[in-house]
């Protein structure tokens, strides 16, 4: 790949990356009651990593994030299937989720939902698949 010397992007990304990832986590958790969720959050995280890929090159990014994205996809799938298949043990229809309000220290009253775990699976699958696709296309060049 041609070595680019893009000083503005390289400087900006160091700050921007954290904002994008933070915002993607916010979007992911907001998906509980508001627009958002694992899919869109995952896409945003993948977007952040792609921005890294554009600024630096594949090898550098692999050094920063030594993740096998295919395995990540598998973990996400197992998470999503596992949380939905949990309903089998309680003999309620597949995908039925449980939720409840819990009193936590510092955070106060929080409503927790097993659907969030399912969404985490979706999040991991989306990041994994998007990055696998982009890496495969990138390696071809």
């Amino acid at each position: 790949m041609r070595k680019t010397n893009n000083i503005i992007l390289e400087t900006a990304i160091k700050v921007l990356l954290f904002f994008i990832v933070l915002y993607s986590v916010y979007i992911f958790t907001a998906g509980h009651y508001y627009p958002g969720g694992g899919f869109i959050g995952g896409l945003m995280t993948a977007g952040a990593i792609v921005l890294l890929l554009i600024t630096y090159d594949i090898k550098t990014v692999e050094k920063i994030l030594p993740v096998n994205y295919r395995i990540l996809t598998g973990i996400g799938l197992l998470f999503a299937i596992g949380t939905s298949a949990g309903s089998l043990f309680f003999d309620v229809p597949f995908l039925t989720h449980a939720f409840g309000d819990v009193q936590l220290p510092i955070l106060g009253e929080v409503s927790l939902h097993t659907a969030t775990l399912f969404d985490l699976g979706v999040y991991l699958v989306v990041v994994g698949v998007t990055m696998t696709i982009i890496q495969t296309i990138g390696e071809d060049e």
């Binding site: 295919r70 395995i71 996809t73 598998g74 799938l77 197992l78 299937i81 298949a85 309903s87 089998l88 003999d91 309620v92 229809p93 597949f94 995908l95 039925t96 989720h97």
Partner: protein
């Protein structure tokens, strides 16, 4: 157990996810896939028994009541197809062990294989028209991978065609579903049926006929009916034998199932669309037979026989009386088993000879009598010689045709049987009789190991024919549900 009917979808799905981690460990992949495949067969068997004793089963996924959530429905028709799919998948899997090669196995062959079964079983089980689209996509995505995996030139070329055709038909599918939703305002199949029933007091509105034809185009593209089969002979020719067997036995049948389901459940008010279906079915038979006779390539001959079978089944559906529908259901199951067996047998022949061109092979029966006679029995079963399984299905369909006073179709089916027999006997006579030849590649082929799967499938097919007396109650229960949509509607909406 509440979740019984989702198990044939869930087990392959979990297996597929686990296999992603095991992609470098081939033995582990084989063991896990085999276990999961057997579990799927057992689950499907229990579903059939439950449907037999307790009637149509439905499951409101995520505890959202029908018609608001997604519903899975298992009536006898879908349960039979799920069991057949699981059995066919099991044998294709066993066959893959010895033939597919380490390269493919390391590149997620078994994982994708399982995802394909998820899609097929899901499409058979779902009771929601949009969810049907989703499972179609799961199935198609997996089939793209299986088609292109290996990356030979012919595979890449045919994958592009296959992808284009299916992307277009998927787009049409969504458009058709959107039209249907704008007319009836629901996606639950039972609910759609009862709504259409309400608005069709004085005959079905014209817009629904348009939607019916759109569905026919969409599913016809997948199911390869005339004139939409143009993509199939090329695309199915490309992949290796076990993948070809899976495609030939399962994928087109999903299209046939969807046509049967939508036409018997939604559009039964308008006999004109059934007339169209019947004409297309008969033309499929005619053109399929012409193709099957014309080719000198074993793969092509059997691929064109798929088109014939699709025509025969859909003709049975279009006549729409008890005998013809029972025949269609019976023949559908028969055809899934026997097509898988034939494609696997051809795979064995190709592994011995290295070619599928009939002019280049002869005299195989001298050294491989087991292969020869298995092929002979499979060929007879395909053509419908009693007491093998093709006979009962065709008999019922032809009987239905005569009862429905649709003599031309019934006559063409009878004539086509002869020509189908001729086309497969051509393979037998040219490929197995005659002078023995050497081919240079045969020392490597583990023929005996490879033969296990197709022989078992032929045995199952023969038992299915001989034991048809004890299977018919299941078939007629399936036909009963297809002919009376109220059974289906009541089971889902629990009115």
């Amino acid at each position: 157990m509440t979740n019984l009917i989702i198990l044939p979808i869930l087990i392959p799905l979990i297996t597929g996810a686990i296999l992603i981690f095991l992609n470098q460990r081939i033995t582990a992949q084989r063991v896990v896939s085999t276990i999961s495949s057997i579990c799927t067969i057992i689950a499907a068997w229990f579903i059939i028994q439950k449907v037999r004793t307790e009637g149509v089963q439905s499951l409101n996924v995520s505890s959202w009541d029908a018609p608001f959530g997604i519903t899975l429905v298992s009536d006898m028709f879908s349960a039979l197809l799920v069991l057949t799919t699981s059995i066919v998948a099991f044998f294709c899997l066993i066959y893959s062990f010895k033939s597919i090669g380490h390269e493919r196995e390391k590149y997620y062959y078994y994982a994708v294989f399982n995802f394909l079964i998820v899609g097929v079983n899901g499409a058979f089980t779902t009771g929601d028209i949009f969810n049907l689209f989703v499972f179609f996509e799961v199935m198609l995505m997996s089939s793209y991978v299986l088609l292109v995996l290996g990356g030979t030139k012919i595979q890449l070329r045919e994958s592009i065609k296959y992808l284009l055709v299916n992307v277009i038909s998927s787009a049409l599918f969504v458009i058709a579903v959107a039209y249907l939703y704008s007319v009836v305002g629901t996606l639950n199949m039972a609910h759609i049926s009862s709504r259409i029933n309400e608005i069709s007091v004085n005959g079905m509105p014209g817009i629904l006929t348009v939607i019916a034809v759109m569905f026919l185009i969409v599913f016809g593209l997948k199911g390869a009916i005339f004139p939409l089969y143009f993509w199939m002979p090329g695309s199915y020719y490309a992949p290796p034998a076990p993948v070809l067997a899976l495609f030939g036995a399962l994928l087109t049948k999903v299209g046939v199932y969807s046509i049967t389901r939508t036409y018997t459940l939604f559009f039964y008010h308008d006999m004109d669309t059934f007339g169209l279906l019947s004409i297309l079915a008969i033309l499929s038979i005619v053109f399929g037979v012409i193709g099957a006779i014309a080719y000198w390539d074993m793969k092509n001959i059997i691929i064109y026989n798929i088109i014939v079978a699709v025509g025969v089944i859909l003709y049975g559906v279009s006549v729409m009386n008890t005998a013809s529908i029972s025949g269609a259901v019976y023949y559908l199951v028969h055809d899934m088993i026997i097509k898988a067996a034939l494609f696997l047998l051809i795979g064995v022949v190709i592994s011995i000879t290295g070619t599928s061109n009939l002019r280049k092979i002869s005299g195989l029966i001298n050294r491989y009598p087991g292969l020869g006679w298995t092929f002979f029995i499979a060929a007879l079963a395909l053509a419908g010689i009693p007491p093998l399984s093709g006979f009962v299905g065709k008999l019922l369909i032809v009987q239905g045709g005569f009862e429905g006073e649709s003599f031309i179709g019934a006559f063409i089916i009878l004539m086509s049987s002869l020509l189908v027999l001729f086309s497969v006997m051509k393979i037998f006579i040219n490929g197995f009789w005659g002078k023995d030849r050497t081919y240079g590649v045969e020392e490597k082929a583990p023929v005996k190991r490879l033969l296990i799967a197709p022989v078992m499938l032929v045995v199952i097919s023969a038992l299915y024919g001989i034991g048809s007396e004890s299977i018919l109650p299941y078939i007629s229960q399936a036909a009963e549900t297809l002919l009376d949509p109220n059974i289906y509607i009541n089971a889902v909406l629990k009115e």
